[in-house]
């Protein structure tokens, strides 16, 4: 390839919208997105431990008072109205509803975690539990978007899009940003991993991890009618034709980039098949994660980050499975049972592979649940009065791994777990912190579009220092 200066290279590829849109990634930093390969790995603003992210999205809103935020005071008022007024949530709520699950102090830190996450809690000394999360409204749709994109209604890039835009990805043979949800898409579907105004290449690649065959996971990854050797022959001829074509057309990196892309694609076919084939894992690893689609998705997450995928999201299942308006005890037990072992195994696995310190794991829903029961409303619930409503006033998210201060609790909700009162952490603050952990100053990490320099955190966000190691 003709030796280009990078400036030339970028300049030449600004044909479409490449240069103008992608170059000013960070004006004050000597970094720019390679428009020909926008997924090439890049350095963040400052050195950081976390290099990649696994977001375990408990879509639907798990209850904080049944998992990571013990509220013994609820017992005192069991079946009675709380002495405080119930905060306004989506539906009518009633009396105090103490957790049916037992909390115990775990690890050296003694952080209390309920039995729902007993396995995960074995790693509690590596986990930072943020008990003072809060969001804006008690409705799923805006809260999904807020958590996943930092904006409740308008079109904005998702967290994973920002991260791959900022860091590129380490393995060009796999998509840089993969989002899994076994059995179907979460509520709002692809909006959760949309790239907004960023180029399409930064959109999450959705994978229905219920499937096991690679060609049902990644579009066009396998050729059903041409053998690998015949395809190799095709690509060899293609290479000859393309280089003859290129000889007469100097100084055009777009031609070179396209030539390269076929070789990458060829390798991606085998690499992806390998990455998604969990049968290659030893028996004891499979056993450690446990049975089920959730467990398998978490194992896949590990296989993907191991191979250099930058951002992996694992949602729990179609629509909003954690949304326990009725039968909370039964449903939460079932849901936690599907992931608890897997999460614990994932953390152990990453530690074993030496990846834990460089992988940021985030667990949480779009909001939490009320510490009081939801009252019957026709059409809204089954009227069993044994579930909890949505609660955006206070909930729990935890983080672990790269740069996170383990064995820590950040913030607190009130006596009953309704509202974040101590060191409240808004979703924007969480995002600022995640970016910080990856080496970005969230206020300088921008993309210019429609006359504005957009940020993941818009005009908000503060880094939660207490969560940093």
């Amino acid at each position: 390839m003709t030796p280009f200066s990078r400036r030339d290279f970028l300049a030449r590829t600004g044909m479409g919208f490449g240069l103008t849109a992608l170059a000013p990634l960070l004006a004050d930093d000597a970094r720019a997105v390679d428009a020909v390969n926008p997924l090439a790995p890049r350095q963040p603003h400052f050195p950081a431990k976390a290099k990649r992210v696994i977001h375990i999205f408990a879509n639907g809103g798990p209850s904080q008072v049944d998992t990571f935020d013990p509220k013994p005071a609820l017992q005192k008022y069991a079946g009675q109205p709380l002495p405080t007024t119930n905060l306004r949530t989506e539906r009518r709520t009633g009396a105090a509803f103490p957790s049916p699950f037992t909390f115990r102090p775990r690890g050296q830190s003694g952080i209390q975690v309920s039995d729902l996450f007993a396995e995960t809690a074995r790693h509690i000394d590596d986990i930072c539990v943020i008990r003072s999360m809060h969001a804006d409204v008690p409705n799923h749709e805006p809260s999904f978007l807020l958590m996943n994109t930092g904006e409740a209604r308008l079109i904005r890039p998702s967290v994973g899009s920002w991260v791959t835009y900022g860091l590129g990805t380490e393995n060009q043979n796999l998509p840089g940003y993969i989002t899994m949800c076994p059995g179907g898409m979460p509520l709002l579907e692809s909006q959760n991993w949309q790239c907004g105004f960023l180029p399409g290449v930064f959109q999450g690649t959705y994978i229905d991890s219920r499937h096991t065959e690679v060609d049902r996971l990644i579009e066009h990854i396998r050729n059903r009618s041409t053998s690998a050797s015949d395809q190799r022959r095709q690509l060899d001829l293609l290479g000859r034709l393309n280089s003859m074509h290129q000889e007469a057309r100097p100084n055009d990196p777009n031609l070179e980039a396209r030539i390269r892309s076929f070789e990458l694609a060829y390798r991606m076919q085998t690499e992806a098949a390998d990455a998604f084939d969990t049968t290659r894992e030893p028996r004891q690893v499979l056993d450690a994660y446990g049975p089920g689609e959730q467990a398998r998705s978490l194992l896949l997450a590990r296989r993907l980050v191991e191979r250099g995928v930058r951002f992996v999201q694992v949602s729990h299942g179609p629509v909003q499975p954690w949304d326990s308006h009725d039968d909370l005890e039964i449903n939460h037990r079932r849901l936690a049972g599907q992931v608890d072992r897997g999460i614990a195994a994932l953390i152990s696995d990453l530690k074993r592979l030496g990846l834990f310190e460089s992988t940021l794991i985030i667990w949480g829903g779009e909001f939490g649940r009320t510490p009081v029961v939801e009252l019957p409303t026709p059409g809204s619930n089954a009227g069993k009065v044994n579930g909890r409503d949505h609660n955006h006033w206070g909930f729990t998210v935890w983080m672990a791994g790269g740069g996170v201060k383990g064995g820590t609790v950040v913030g607190a909700t009130d006596e009953f777990g309704f509202r974040a009162v101590e060191n409240p952490v808004h979703v924007h603050d969480l995002h600022a912190t995640v970016l910080h952990l990856l080496g970005f100053d969230h206020e300088r990490f921008t993309f210019r579009y429609a006359g504005r320099d957009f940020r993941l955190t818009d005009v908000h966000g503060r880094v939660v220092r207490e969560a940093l190691a």
């Binding site: 280009f4 200066s5 990078r6 030339d8 300049a11 030449r12 044909m15 000013p24 004006a27 000597a30 970094r31 720019a32 428009a35 926008p38 749709e141 209604r153 043979n173 709002l188 692809s190 909006q191 790239c195 907004g196 105004f197 180029p199 399409g200 290449v201 690649t205 959705y206 579009e219 990854i221 050729n223 059903r224 015949d230 001829l237 293609l238 034709l241 003859m244 074509h245 007469a248 100097p250 100084n251 055009d252 777009n254 031609l255 396209r258 030539i259 390269r260 892309s261 076929f262 694609a265 060829y266 991606m268 026709p378 059409g379 206020e443 210019r448 429609a450 006359g451 005009v459 503060r462």
Partner: protein, 892 residues
């Protein structure tokens, strides 16, 4: 690689944003701190009393001067000394005035303000107060279009475009490249105008045509092709963020049933060379034009209506419309002024809300208007019949639920519940009241009817209700013991006998029982006008069927929506549904106010509905007619508008050169790069307008220039001198976009369906459609992965220009997708291939079909070698290789 790295800082400098004002003495850190920590707090919490409109105590905190001057009674800020600054004391709620009065600032913001004062209270002078920097209203794009004369050039040039371009090149000691060869030129012209390749025969005819106007004839022929509108219509659909679905809309049907009528309108308009000004006006206000019998232009309004629905948030829907209109038509980023005045361009938030008012005064009708003549065939009649039946079923179900809901409200217990609720709610603020109604599982709407009614009746001493009010004064704990006596002693003249009787008979132990007894008296005594008044006209329980929606609970709504969804889907999917237009109509005029910080709950000053100042003629007047949409449209599509014509000629330039004279096609604001050829841009804009806004004439004007017709190769010297080709010393090689690529694959396979218009088709579901890509279904909620991978314009928002990325997923589609394999197979089986007598002739035939030319000797040899072993599928594999080649994918 090292060379790239070394060059990085240069690039970074080039890309640095033009930071605000040169005269501001603030350090970047100070500016940053102020803009992120201080100004937002001041704006949100202080400006409403100490801002531009209102200066309580003479204090103004939105300008440097104001902060310096302080309040009527003296300074509020002592720079560097928070302890002496009254502003700091106030927000700490320590001084004489605790500020903001109602609710204090969070500790963090107090700390920031304190820190800011400690820093010396630095305040950027550029944003407010007297402007000392460049005046943004003087920015080139906001000046009237000039009529420059093409400059003189050393090299003779007849075409004005070439004179503008040559003058710049010659100043750098450069010149235009040699003309492209004829094959390259005709292929370029085909892709530029119709997005399809010429056949080998068409190329040869052109090569042989020695007439001086040979190329002009090609241009004319292509402009007359119906495929021209498909190509240029698709470009406009990018601008219009076109999609066939609404995105996520809860449980509703997601389809825009008639989006395709807008797409077809756009295609037709380009094909008819509809004057561009008219095209713009129709898209904003066809409903306000005298259309005569042909209502088809109503479909134009899909430009406004076919956006995302943002969880049905009306403010965001309007924001999307403002954005698509201002960026799409004028290259103005007005949506930046939603929360505050535009940071760079002279677009105040007031102008945003002027446009907001126009769209807030426009509504989408429930029944979309029919366009075109209704056909009467057995199929359409069956469809109409089925639709009518479905609608009747829906109406019947709705009536049933309405009747049931109303009947429930008219029972004694329900009446009792509301009576009691109104009495209990007295003295509560609206928010408490809302929570209280909700906790009792009552309807806010019905409560909202009962409350004023009952309040009035009690004031007037209505004997039906006053007894209950009297009983309400008994403390709850004592009710059981005291009620009987209280009932006995109810004053006769103020107690309706039936009410008294009912209460006496009920012997209520609780207020609830008493209220229900009153309810029973009312229901039983309906015939008595005094008792029956609640059911009579104007009474709280006189709820007409049209308001039925308000009575429904979630279950009712969910079930009715489920039926409605089926009806909508039926209309959207049924090929016999007669075409309709997704229009807007004028609704009740809403006089807008500024929403401070973009928050609808935070109402600022009222503003008139009018044109944004920066693009309005002198003496701007508020809109007068209806919503003002038509006047807005006319102000945009006006020759006097400094932006509209410039922005569109630039878009056309993008379509012919790969990038514009202004390289940010939807942002002509202060921060955009200046045009590479400002005089040329103005000259083209002027030509465009004086040629009656004819887009076709504009194409021809551009394409007949030597600048357009030159070769695209960039020799080293030219490349070094001008790597970004800003001076246009050569044409630009362009990669086919997804649509052109896919359509060309179908042409090569001999299968392209050339039908124009119609409902959207799924491009990715087997059996694969062979229609042009422009007719592919664009599902905004789940945009097909292949669209994303190939940088097809995102339908989420207005798309200024497509990205150009190269990723392996594109290659995977071409290598492995059943679609491409199917076409490769078809290509290998075309009659021209079958009839070729030997492998060499077949290779030649293949080249002609796929690439429109004869292969070279080397290529022929390679082909021969590839198929030599005669294995099964070799020719298909070979055909596919040609479809994958760079030659196929790029137009020189």
């Amino acid at each position: 690689m090292t060379r790239w790295f070394a060059a990085l800082p240069v690039l970074a400098l080039a890309a640095a944003p033009a930071v605000a004002d040169p005269s501001a003495k603030l350090t970047p850190e100070q500016t940053h701190f102020f803009e992120t920590k201080i100004r937002p707090v001041l704006a949100e919490r202080c400006y409403s009393c100490h801002g531009e409109k209102k200066q309580s105590a003479g204090l103004r905190l939105d300008t440097a001067v104001g902060v310096q001057k302080g309040a009527d009674d003296g300074a509020v800020v002592v720079p560097g000394d928070p302890a002496k600054s009254r502003l700091v004391k106030s927000v700490k709620r320590e001084g004489d005035f605790a500020m903001p009065p109602k609710q204090g600032l969070p500790a963090e913001q107090v700390a920031d303000l304190t820190e800011w004062v400690r820093m010396g209270a630095p305040f950027p002078a550029d944003m407010t107060g007297p402007k000392t920097g460049a005046d943004p209203t003087k920015h080139w794009a906001f000046q009237p279009v000039r009529v420059p004369d093409p400059p003189a050039t050393k090299q003779p040039a007849a075409h004005p475009i070439d004179r503008f371009v040559l003058a710049k090149l010659e100043a750098k000691g450069m010149t235009l490249s040699a003309p492209a060869d004829k094959r390259t030129l005709i292929r370029r012209a085909y892709y530029d105008l119709i997005g399809l390749p010429p056949t080998a025969e068409e190329v040869e005819v052109f090569e042989k045509d020695g007439a001086p106007d040979a190329f002009e004839k090609v241009i004319d022929r292509l402009l007359a092709s119906p495929h021209y509108g498909e190509r240029w219509g698709r470009y406009w659909l990018d601008v219009a963020r076109y999609a066939d679905t609404k995105g996520y809309v809860f449980q509703e049907d997601r389809n825009f049933a008639f989006a395709y009528t807008y797409r077809d309108y756009v295609i037709r308009s380009f094909n008819e060379d509809k004057p561009f000004d008219r095209f713009l006006v129709e898209q904003l206000a066809a409903d306000r034009l005298p259309l005569g019998d042909d209502k088809s232009p109503l479909a134009a309004m899909g430009y406004l209506t076919l956006g995302r629905r943002f969880l049905n948030n009306s403010h965001d829907i309007i924001d999307d419309r403002i954005d698509v209109v201002t960026r799409g038509m004028m290259g103005l980023t007005v949506a930046c002024a939603r929360c505050h005045d535009h940071k760079y361009d002279p677009i105040p938030a007031k102008d945003y809300y002027s446009l907001y008012g126009v769209f807030a005064s426009s509504v989408e009708p429930k029944e979309l208007p029919l366009i075109g003549e209704a056909k009467h065939t057995p199929e359409t009649e069956a469809y109409e019949k089925e639709l009518a039946k479905k609608k009747a079923d829906y109406d019947a179900e709705r009536t049933r639920r309405y009747t049931a809901a109303l009947a429930k409200l008219r029972t004694p217990d329900s009446i009792g519940d509301y009576l009691r609720a109104v009495l209990d709610a007295r003295g509560k603020n609206p928010e408490q009241m809302q929570g209280f109604v909700r906790d009792r599982d009552l309807s806010q709407v019905v409560f909202g009817r009962w409350r004023p009614y009952l309040t009035d009746q009690l004031k007037a001493g209505n004997p039906v209700f006053t007894p209950l009010a009297a009983l309400h004064t008994i403390p709850e704990a004592e009710f059981a013991t005291k009620a009987t006596a209280a009932i006995d002693s109810l004053p006769k003249d103020k107690t309706h006998p039936a009410v008294k009787a009912a209460l006496a008979a009920a012997k209520p132990k609780t207020l609830r029982e008493a209220a229900n007894a009153v309810g029973k008296a009312i229901v039983d005594g309906k015939g008595d006008p005094a008792l029956g008044a609640v059911f009579a006209a104007g009474g709280p329980l006189d709820i007409p069927a049209v308001d039925g929606d308000k009575l429904f609970n979630r279950l009712d709504r969910d079930q009715l929506n489920a039926i409605k969804k089926k009806i909508d889907a039926f209309q959207a999917m049924n090929p016999n549904a007669p075409p309709r237009a997704h229009v807007l109509n004028d609704g009740g005029v809403q006089e807008p106010v500024v929403f401070l910080r973009g928050n609808p709950g935070n109402r600022g000053p009222a503003v008139p509905r009018q044109m944004v100042a920066v693009a309005a003629p002198a003496g701007r007047q508020p809109f007068k007619s209806g919503s003002g949409r038509l006047e807005l449209a006319q102000a945009i599509a006006s020759p006097a508008n400094p932006l509209t014509a410039r922005v569109y000629v630039n878009r056309v330039w993008v379509g012919h050169f790969g990038h514009g004279l202004v390289r940010t096609p939807s942002d002509f604001g202060v921060r955009s790069d200046p045009p590479t050829h400002p005089e040329l841009l103005d000259w083209l804009a002027h030509q465009f307008v004086t040629n009656g806004w004819s887009v076709k004439r504009l194409h021809k004007l551009v394409m007949t220039s030597a600048t357009y017709r030159q070769g695209s190769a960039a020799p080293d010297a030219v490349f070094r001198a001008d790597p970004e080709n800003k001076l246009l010393g050569h044409q630009n090689r362009r990669r086919l976009d997804f649509e052109a690529m896919r359509d060309t694959v179908l042409v090569a396979a001999g299968k392209l369906d050339r039908t124009v218009g119609g409902r959207a088709v799924d491009l990715f579901k087997a059996p694969f459609t062979v229609r042009r890509s422009v007719y592919g279904m664009i599902d905004r909620s789940n945009l097909p992965g292949t669209f994303r991978v190939f940088d097809v314009a995102s339908p989420d928002q207005h798309s200024p220009q497509r990205f150009l990325t190269t990723v392996p997923q594109q290659a995977l589609f071409l290598m492995n997708s059943p679609f491409v394999q199917e076409q490769a197979k078809a290509l290998a089986a075309r009659p021209e291939m079958a009839s070729a007598g030997n492998p060499d002739l077949r290779v030649i035939a293949l080249y002609r079909l796929a690439l429109g030319r004869t292969p070279t000797a080397t290529e022929l040899a390679l082909g021969r070698e590839f198929v030599a072993d005669s294995s099964a599928g070799r020719w298909e594999q070979y055909a596919q290789v040609l479809l994958l080649s760079n030659e196929f994918a790029f137009a020189d």
